[in-house]
């Protein structure tokens, strides 16, 4: 059974017990190159492995881009 979370403003269904590190891996994202806001709090990289996603969690996954 999956759970539904919100990632960058869109609903997404993932498997239960997915850790954030797993989720990033599933998206082929290098954890060193992103910043993650987890339910409005900034999550340190060292906690990506510890943090398990739950129903209705909200993730913002951002990266650095060109800007002026």
């Amino acid at each position: 059974m999956g759970i539904i979370i919100t990632v960058n403003g869109k609903k997404e269904t993932i498997e239960e017990n997915t850790r954030i590190s797993d989720f990033l891996a599933s998206k082929k994202l290098n954890p060193d190159k992103v910043v993650v806001e987890y339910n409005q709090d900034i999550l340190n990289r060292e906690n990506f492995e510890n943090s398990v996603l739950w129903e209705n969690d909200v993730l913002e996954i951002l990266r650095i881009v060109g800007g002026g």
Binding site: N8, K27, V35, L62, R63, I64, V65, G66, G67, G68
Partner: protein, 255 residues
């Protein structure tokens, strides 16, 4: 002995800060950095788009360069603060360009919110560089708030219109005891050169370089123009006069 630009406890030779937006490919950026000689480079923060594979811009920025993330997209102080902290967490360090904008046509900054964000972020240990309208009282409050510099606009962002605000920028230069970095609107090297001749401490340029047919050459041109303007400021220009003054001896031999 050397004329170094002090900003946020750094001392730098370069007085040209460049932005990294609007390039067709991030792969162009190393060359732009190299041609510009810039030691401070602005970046932005954006949601990842899972549908499009994209480069990581940080892979294109050399280690020795100081990153300057901006808070582009923030419409008020709290959003700016949130973005600043995310940028820090993303590995950009503790420098932040505050940009709080709610006007989408001219992208003019909001002085009130900018001051609030600056106060909060200075307390949190950031080196804060606010982008502002050239308003003296806003600049004074930012000085009091602990900003590391003020960055008045020359013209609307991306407009390439030049140093249209010279009347007000000259007053900031005269009255504010912080580095003055002219940001936004500078469209040609002569605009940046003039800003530096007036006594600005540095210029920030993005669109004029990124939008040139040949950005690398334009980056080099801006670098030289900024140096030229700075050196002219230091060299102490002569006075202007209403009339002519001969540069060759006129007392001729011809009768």
């Amino acid at each position: 002995m050397d004329d170094l630009f002090e900003l946020g406890e750094k001392k730098m030779k370069s007085r040209l800060i460049i932005g990294t937006g609007k390039y067709s490919s991030d792969a162009l950026i190393p060359n732009i950095i190299s041609e510009s000689g810039s030691q401070v480079i602005t970046v932005a923060l954006r949601r990842i788009d899972f549908d499009s594979k994209t480069d990581n811009i940080l892979d294109h920025i050399p280690e020795h360069v100081q990153l300057l993330p901006n808070t582009s997209g923030a419409r008020n102080a709290s959003e700016a603060i949130r973005i600043a902290k995310l940028a820090q967490a993303a590995g950009c360090g503790n420098w932040i360009k505050i940009e709080v904008i709610s006007d989408n046509k001219y992208l003019l900054p909001d002085g009130f919110e900018t001051i609030e964000a600056t106060k909060a972020l200075v307390k949190d240990g950031f080196i804060v560089l606010p982008y502002i309208s050239p308003d003296l009282m806003v600049a004074k409050r930012l000085e009091d708030a602990g900003a590391a510099a003020v960055m008045p606009l020359g013209a609307p962002i991306g407009s390439n219109r030049g140093l249209r605000t010279r009347e007000l920028v000259r007053i900031l230069i005269d009255e504010i005891d912080l580095p003055i970095i002219v940001d936004a609107g500078l469209g040609k090297p002569s605009h940046a050169c003039e800003a530096m001749e007036m006594g600005a401490d540095a210029c920030l340029v993005n669109t004029a370089i990124a939008g040139a047919d040949n950005p690398g050459t334009m980056a080099r041109a801006f670098a030289k123009a900024v140096q030229a303007g700075r050196e002219a400021f230091l060299a102490g220009p002569g006075a202007t006069s209403e009339f002519a003054s001969a540069s060759s001896p006129l007392t001729g031999f011809l009768e």
